[in-house]
């Protein structure tokens, strides 16, 4: 198979295991490319991509933009806080206005779950979901799994714990779907206030104790405490959160085995993980960032080739 089964990347939920492997294999190639002296390839020379960010983002936007530029795509950027869009123009109108300038692909981040799915039904362009509310963030999950594969050779059979705010996290949900598709076992860990009540019904177990979770796992994915996403208080203070769910070097060293520590960034140093953990060789946080570009190049390349294929 050399083609994705989908025309959009709206979520991991909507793609197959074979799609994921194809993206990984394509990313392997692009990872080699971006480590060359000349990091650019002409693959998307005649493709125009709009990055539409209806919610703040720095690293995801930069990563996509870099991926697009390394593929020689033409890139336009649009940023708007959701509030200013809400004032007047609808999402469909905003996007159609941009598409009327002959744009082929849309990379969109949006605060509402399902925004990408909604858009895909009403516009004529290939959509990459760069995060939609608490729904999915598929490229993050792909790069996370890709990084696990790189470090541990394979994802299948591995034990992964996702720690932190699962309730508000698109990263958690996409990771769960991707890890399950690739044959990993997934646990979530965090204060019960931040765990969806029915999480076990989607094949994920819950562990309330961080040490037990870490003793069980091969990989710990430490999510950021997203205070900006919480409209009420789910725990009394960051201090208390850290006491129960923060990973420090002493805890890591006491496990009697070497686990891999991941973080989707940006890190709150001293909250989810301490600096000495973040900077340790067990942490693969910067590898994740680097792999992010390769994964996004792969996704854009594979989706664009479907556009070209459809047009021919």
């Amino acid at each position: 198979m050399s083609e994705l089964s989908v025309n959009h990347l709206l979520g991991i939920k909507y793609i197959s295991e074979a799609d994921i492997h194809l993206i990984f294999e394509t990313a392997d190639h692009f990872k080699e490319v971006i480590n060359r002296p000349i990091k650019k390839v002409p693959s998307l020379r005649d493709i125009t991509i709009a990055n539409l960010f209806f919610e703040n983002s720095t690293r995801t936007r930069l990563s996509f933009e870099l991926a697009e530029k390394r593929l020689s795509a033409d890139v336009i950027n649009f940023s708007a806080a959701s509030s200013s869009v809400k004032k007047g123009e609808t999402l469909i109108d905003t996007v159609n206005n941009i598409l009327s300038m002959k744009v082929d692909m849309v990379v969109m981040r949006h605060p509402n779950p399902g925004a990408g799915v909604f858009l895909s039904k009403h516009i004529n362009a290939s959509i990459v979901n760069a995060g939609d509310g608490a729904h999915e963030h598929p490229t993050q999950a792909l790069l996370d799994c890709y990084s696990i594969r790189e470090r541990l050779k394979d994802v299948a059979g591995k034990k992964v714990v996702i720690v932190g705010d699962i309730l508000h996290s698109r990263v958690a949900l996409s990771n769960i779907f991707a890890l399950q598709k690739l044959g990993a076992e997934v646990k979530v860990c965090g204060p019960k206030t931040l765990i969806p009540k029915y999480i076990e019904r989607i094949g994920v177990s819950y562990e309330k104790n961080l040490r037990s979770a870490l003793e069980w796992c091969d990989v710990a994915n430490m999510l950021r405490v997203q205070n900006e996403r919480m409209d009420i208080s789910y725990f009394p203070s960051t201090r208390e959160y850290t006491q129960q769910y923060g990973v420090n070097k002493a805890l890591l060293d006491s496990l009697g085995k070497e686990i891999v520590v991941m973080h989707p960034g940006p890190i709150n140093r001293g909250v989810e993980i301490t600096s000495d953990v973040a900077d340790s060789k067990q942490a693969i946080i910067l590898e994740q960032v680097q792999n992010g570009v390769a994964i996004r190049m792969a996704v854009l390349y594979l989706l664009a080739s479907k556009i070209q294929h459809n047009e021919n």
Partner: protein, 418 residues
């Protein structure tokens, strides 16, 4: 003098001696003059329809028509036309208009708009001023003008003492108080049922706990105050259980269920289709089964379409931004009949009349003719062409159903689908 003859109509009216019999019905000046195996009358206008069934006129205890103020969603005249074509001879119109119907003037406006229509329009007055949940509205004044019940539509009464006072106050004139079964601090900003699907979709959930807590509170209040409470649109297994126990205790409580909750589940949400964004939300199969059982054993008193037209601008948008609600009049009978059968459907669509103080007219000689004409075997897929409402937001689009209204005879007028 007008004469109308309905030929070969199967009468579905458990209280009538003609129940389930095929009869000719002669109507003279709005009164059933004669019911017989074969009536001949050359002066009468004769109606012959395939597989014609006739029942008492159906009543919907919760419809919204947007007027005044929200005419882009629906007008009263087209709303009543939709009701008539869907088989309803009586509708209770919610106060969720702009301004909110919280005064005598609002009730008078609606009554005047409904005057002379084949469908009887009964206003539901707001329980609190502007439905804000702070001060009691002038319930007696609205009652005197024709409001048949009081409630703030989908706004729960947050203040327990206010509901207590409302239940006490309305007793003086036998007023029926409605309370939306949803505890707002638990429901919060939820948009769908909290369960597996909300987890998979990353959508904020409304736990069934919110309904359970509010019904529990309201029943305790009712026990304390006495009075008449109607709980509109129960949606959970726990909610049904609470009402069942309260009825056993002898409390004067009734409840309804929305046909959407009776037929559909939150599995429909998969695609973020905003037509399934409803309040109460679509729940699980387990809840649905409990609702069916509750309806069957009489815990749930009747079925409403919970008809709520929403303009496309408020539906064709991101799921979080879309408004709650679905139209329901047009699909109500078909969806219900497919699920629970004809006799039970008819019973569920007339049962709440008494509770809301509306006369029931038996299908007997000498009775006022207020009839629904329908074909319970009409098999079709509900699609946009079946929608008569100004807004097209139906949760039943694409659903295969059996049963369709031909129309009504009511207020001396015959309304038939073309």
């Amino acid at each position: 003098m007008s004469l109308l003859l309905l030929k070969s109509a199967t009468i579905v009216d458990a209280a009538s001696k003609h129940h389930l019999k095929k009869r000719d019905i002669l109507i003279e000046n709005g009164v059933i003059r004669k019911i017989g195996a074969s009536i001949k009358n050359e002066k009468a206008k004769t109606v012959t329809l395939e597989n014609l069934h006739v029942s008492q006129g159906w009543f919907d205890s919760s419809v919204s028509f947007g007027e005044p103020g929200l005419e882009e969603r629906e007008t009263i005249s087209n709303g009543l036309r939709t009701a008539a074509h869907s088989g309803f001879t009586a509708v209770a119109v919610n106060p969720n208009t702009n301004p909110v119907n919280d005064s005598k003037a609002g009730v008078q406006f609606l009554m005047a708009k409904g005057e002379g229509n084949p469908v009887n329009l009964y206003p539901v007055g707001a329980l609190t001023v502007r439905s804000e949940g702070v001060d009691l509205a002038e319930l007696y004044d609205m009652h005197s003008e024709g409001a048949i019940a009081f409630g703030d539509y989908k706004h729960p009464v947050e203040n327990a003492n206010l509901l207590k006072i409302a239940l006490q106050y309305a007793q003086n004139f036998g007023g029926l108080v409605q309370s939306m079964p949803m505890e707002p601090s638990v429901a919060r900003k939820g948009v769908v049922n909290e369960h597996v699907n909300s987890t998979l979709l990353g959508l904020k959930g409304i736990p069934s706990l919110a309904e359970e807590l509010q019904i529990t509170r309201d029943l305790y209040l009712l026990e304390y105050t006495g009075g008449k409470l109607h709980i509109p649109t129960v949606s959970t297994r726990a909610g049904v259980k609470l009402v069942r126990e309260a009825k056993k205790k002898g409390l004067d409580v009734t409840c309804s269920v929305s046909v959407s909750n009776l037929v559909l589940t939150d599995d429909r949400l998969e695609d973020f289709d905003t037509n399934y964004k409803l309040l109460p939300p679509l729940r699980t199969e387990s809840d649905r089964k409990a609702l069916l059982k509750g309806l069957k054993d009489g815990t749930i008193d009747g079925v409403t379409s919970d008809h709520n037209p929403i303009d496309i601008e408020n539906k064709k948008t991101e799921f979080d931004h879309a408004m709650f609600g679905s139209i329901g009049l047009e699909s109500c009978f078909g969806a219900l009949n497919s699920e629970i059968g004809t006799e039970a459907s008819v019973a569920a669509l007339v049962a709440l009349k008494d509770r809301f103080g509306i006369d029931s007219n038996l299908i007997e000689e000498g009775s006022t003719a207020e009839l629904t004409l329908f074909n319970p075997d009409h098999d079709y897929v509900f699609s946009e062409e079946n929608i008569l409402s100004a807004s097209k937001n139906s949760a039943f689009l694409g659903v295969r159903m059996k049963g369709k209204a031909y129309g009504i005879y009511s207020n001396k007028k015959l309304v038939l689908n073309s």
